[in-house]
């Protein structure tokens, strides 16, 4: 590559007042404005921001991979001092994949499904360095073992769908590193993965950053991941960088209200709702074509001042010259930055009432059936999927019980059985004194259906796009409320909208006119329309941005408290669970491996899986230290679960053959805290905590 100096020692990448726009039929929409960045050799910079802030657009602009409707409208991107705009199409091709390469969000989608991985990997050295087939193959194998993939030869001969998601992402990373690029862009590389798998990838990235001569840009919406991987951080909001600086400066001495807002909106696994209530950022992200004059964050900012903050474009203000800390806030010197809110100390410990739901030894097996005509005639064979295995737990009035687990753990099946969309194979589901385990929803009493409702995960299809908000809520009221009079129904709908803090003119809106958070609010209103006794919330905020999620979480908790509803909160996010749950049930491959009060779950003794899960949670707090536990291998299939303890294939505390041969007993650690494990009780009790506040003495170290 003659164009770039191999021994360049200036910034590997520089963006100088970069502006990028989208073009729609109607108008030009600025996506990114005045973006500046200087990435030094071996440095990792994190780009963090909520969806729509333009962080991925920046990556695509650096790659100069822009469709017809996107263009750079100003500024420069310099790679090793060369303006990328001056490169020809052919020079760009040589740059991509050899000098700058990229890792993407969806590993499965990023790999060609119809091509074996060996070809996909070998292409890189073959086309960039024109090496021999054999050398390309050898390099690919070596790189695969560098990214810690077991059995690289087998992976090479596989198609993408034959390996797991975590392995796919390792292959994509290997592919990106094959030509030893000087710059690696990582665009949300772990968002599509489960937490324990994510932890492995993050560790790999952090380790690579220290070992190889590659500078990185790490794009993420998760501040915890940035802390674990990056040296510097750029916080983006609505197309602009609002704060930049070293990770430690920005995390501990933030000087922009948005950054501060973000931090107060994230739940931490070290604090619950009583210790540190989440503070949502009010309002919502301005649409790109309707940004306010002056500070884009102005309308949502508590420190907004008329005449100053809406005066005109605001440039980056230097906070600390030496460390390169900057903030796009005119009032940063005037604001009191000590963290407010902490220890607001409203003690909201609810007194729980009677048991509402009592699940005992509930099992749900699915038969894998073949419904084709041919199989019906042959009377084909069937296999079982053990989605839920002997589930027992209890939920009381006004209590929040969290079900935690990764994909495939059976939490959705559990919800389906509770709701009556499936019937249990065995055991009882006692709801308000009635066993509903064998009663499908169509055969349930109207009062039972009304009393047990659900909030769903995906804001994009929780509401029917064809009906207005009002008519959807109205239908539920007519169905449950016994109200049939049109006027009364309408009044009740407006009341519900008010409860979820939405304006009444949402009555006639269609779902596509609502933002994600607003749709989730309507979804909550729908669940609470019939004054339910219990609400099952299936990951209700996991698809929302942090600031919005905090508001929706808060709303859900408020309503629950007001109506003393039992909340069954299904989630994979331990921080959130810590924040709002009273009791926690941890599931793995259909089994409950541990349950107890939130306090008990988050402190030792742990089930080894809970321990690993806790260790995997990215925490956006510099004062915290975690024990590193990376689980080996990938999640076994539910069709063919491991014998004995289901967790033994990945367990870091496996004690011997007993784990492979016998189903472990439920050990009661006292007070209903139960752990499903073969490890002797006293050994479990001797475990140290996973998460420790720095400086605090670590009791009971191993």
């Amino acid at each position: 590559m003659g164009k770039f100096q191999a021994d360049w020692d200036g910034p590997v990448l520089e963006c100088k007042s970069l502006s990028i726009s989208y073009y729609t039929r109607a108008a030009e929409i600025p996506a990114v404005q005045d973006f500046n960045l200087a990435l030094k050799k071996n440095e990792t910079i994190g780009l963090v921001g909520e969806s729509g802030c333009g962080k991925s657009t920046v990556a695509m602009a650096i790659m100069r991979y822009m469709g017809k409707n996107m263009a750079i409208t100003g500024g420069q991107v310099l790679y090793k001092g060369v303006d990328l705009a001056t490169l020809s199409e052919e020079e760009l091709r040589q740059l991509r994949g050899s000098e700058i390469s990229m890792v993407y969000q969806e590993p499965m989608a990023s790999l060609n499904p119809a091509m074996k991985l060996d070809r996909q990997l070998m292409e890189v050295p073959l086309y960039h360095e024109h090496v021999s087939e054999q050398e390309a193959y050898d390099r690919a194998v070596k790189m695969l073992s560098n990214v810690k993939l077991p059995d690289p030869e087998r992976v090479m001969a596989s198609y993408p769908h034959q390996i797991s998601g975590g392995q796919q992402q390792r292959v994509v990373i290997a592919m990106a590193l094959l030509s030893e690029p000087s710059l690696l862009l990582l665009d949300e590389p772990t968002t599509a993965l489960d937490v324990t798998v994510e932890a492995g990838i993050v560790e790999l990235i952090a380790e690579l950053a220290g070992r190889i001569q590659t500078s990185m840009i790490y794009i993420s919406h998760n501040l915890g991941l940035i802390l674990e991987t990056c040296d510097r951080i750029n916080v983006m909001y609505s197309g602009q960088v609002v704060e930049e600086g070293s990770v430690s400066e920005v995390f501990d001495k933030m000087r922009h209200p948005y950054t501060q807002g973000l931090f107060s909106a994230i739940p931490l696994p070290t604090a619950d709702k009583n210790a540190r209530p989440l503070q949502a950022i009010r309002g919502q992200l301005p649409l790109p074509h309707a940004r306010p004059k002056g500070c884009y964050f102005g309308p949502r900012c508590d420190h907004f001042r008329d005449g100053l903050c809406d005066g005109g474009p605001i440039s980056m203000q230097t906070v600390d010259e030496a460390s390169g800390h900057g903030s796009r806030c005119l009032r940063w010197t005037e604001i009191n930055w000590t963290r407010v809110g902490a220890g607001a100390g409203q003690d909201v410990h609810a007194d729980f009432g009677e048991s509402v739901l009592n699940v005992e030894h509930m099992k749900k097996y699915y038969e894998l059936k073949d419904t084709s005509m041919a199989a019906m005639i042959k009377g084909g064979s069937s296999r079982h999927v053990k989605a839920n295995e002997s589930i027992s737990f209890l939920a009381r009035e006004a209590e929040t019980v969290a079900i935690v687990g990764e994909s495939g753990c059976g939490k959705s099946t559990l919800a389906k059985v509770l709701m009556g969309l499936e019937t249990a194979t065995e055991g009882t589901v006692n709801f308000q004194g009635k066993d509903l385990s064998q009663v499908p929803v169509q055969q349930r009493q109207r009062d039972d259906v009304k009393a047990l409702q659900m909030v769903f995960q995906n804001p994009f299809d929780t509401l029917n796009p064809s009906h207005t908000v009002g008519s959807q809520l109205g239908r539920v009221i007519r169905k449950f409320g016994g109200i049939t009079d049109g006027e009364a129904v309408r009044r009740r709908v407006l009341e519900l909208l008010d409860i979820v803090k939405l304006p009444s003119d949402f009555y006639f809106r269609r779902p596509r006119q609502l933002s994600g958070g607003q749709k989730q609010r309507v979804g909550i209103a729908r669940a609470f329309a019939g004054n339910p006794t219990m609400v099952v919330a299936d990951e209700p905020v996991s698809a929302l941005d942090v600031s919005v999620a905090a508001a929706v979480t808060g709303l859900l908790m408020d309503i629950q408290r007001t109506y003393r509803t039992t909340l069954l909160f299904i989630s994979h996010d331990l921080s959130l669970v810590r924040y709002l749950a009273d009791r926690v049930v941890v599931m793995y491959l259909g089994h409950i491996v541990e349950q107890g009060t939130t306090e008990e779950i988050f402190s030792p003794p742990y089930h080894p899986y809970t321990e690993a899960l806790l260790s995997a949670v990215p925490i956006a707090d510099t004062s915290i230290e975690k024990k590193r536990i990376i689980l080996e291998g990938s999640l076994p299939s539910v069709i063919n679960p491991p014998k004995g303890c289901v967790f033994h294939t990945r367990c870091h505390r496996k004690i011997g053959d007993i784990c492979q041969s016998q189903v472990p007993p439920q050990v009661d650690m006292g007070g209903g805290h139960r752990i499903l494990c073969h490890i002797p009780e006293d050994e479990l009790k001797a475990m140290g905590p996973v998460i420790v506040q720095k400086g605090e003495p670590q009791e009971a170290a191993e």
Binding site: Y65, L95, A114, Y127, Y159, Q162
Partner: protein, 310 residues
Amino acid sequence: MLILIGRRLGSMILVMLVVSALTFITLEAQPGSVATKVLGPYSSEEQREIWLENNGYNEPIWERYVVWLGNFLSGDFGESTRFKTEVSNVLWPRLGNTAILAAATMALVIPISLVLGVLAGMREGSRTDRTISVVSIFTTSVPEIASAPILAFIFVFLLGILPGTSSFQNGFSIAELILPTMVLVLYDFGYVTRMTRASMAEVMTTHYIRTAVLKGLPYKRVIVKHALRNALIAPFTVVMLQINWLLSGVIVTEYFFAYKGFGALLLEAALNQDIFVIEACTVIAVIVAVGSQAISDIGYTFLNPRIRFS
């Protein structure tokens, strides 16, 4: 994988059996009308009775079906009332002629539509794309019953360079094959082109194409190695299903150009109530259609590694 193919073949045979039974019941459920059709409307009641008796029509229908199926499988389709000969004597040569026509059509449709579809889908929204799309909408809007007269008008009446009938009276002739083929190609290629285009355009927006581009591969390799393989899976199945459509088009085309083929035979038999010919033609047509569909399904699983290895 083998199970998949086995299951597919099994259901294919089941469909064919049901179809043959349905066809048989539709045409022969009432023995009286069969006799009338075979012996003609002026036959006497007695003649019909004797004929029915001699041909086993007084047996229950399912027994007749089994006998009929056995005969059918051994190639005995019965006697044609219209052609006064064994059905197979007429059927096989006609089928051969239609095969020539179909082969010529497919030989043109496949390359034309795949190339055009890929060109259009490669750069969605480009001028090439829009031109190809509109042209293919136009050609698929002209049905065979319209394109046949129009083409005949142009090439026979105006230009006078091609013969207007294709009955092969003086033996096989390429010139006589051109017009019928043209009619079929014109109507068919647009559809396959549009399917190919849609498939290609979809592939071009996938993330793995982006990966391939950002890996720094030359554009040609991205298209040939990464895009085509995935983009051609869908058109392949469409092409095979096209054979079913082609059989319909063949009837019109053969009728218009007096082409001595299978479609014209079926039509002639239908208009003259020649039931044994109708039966034979229908079942053969279904065998061809179902067979091509099964090939398309099995081919799909071969082309798509995600199914092949699951």
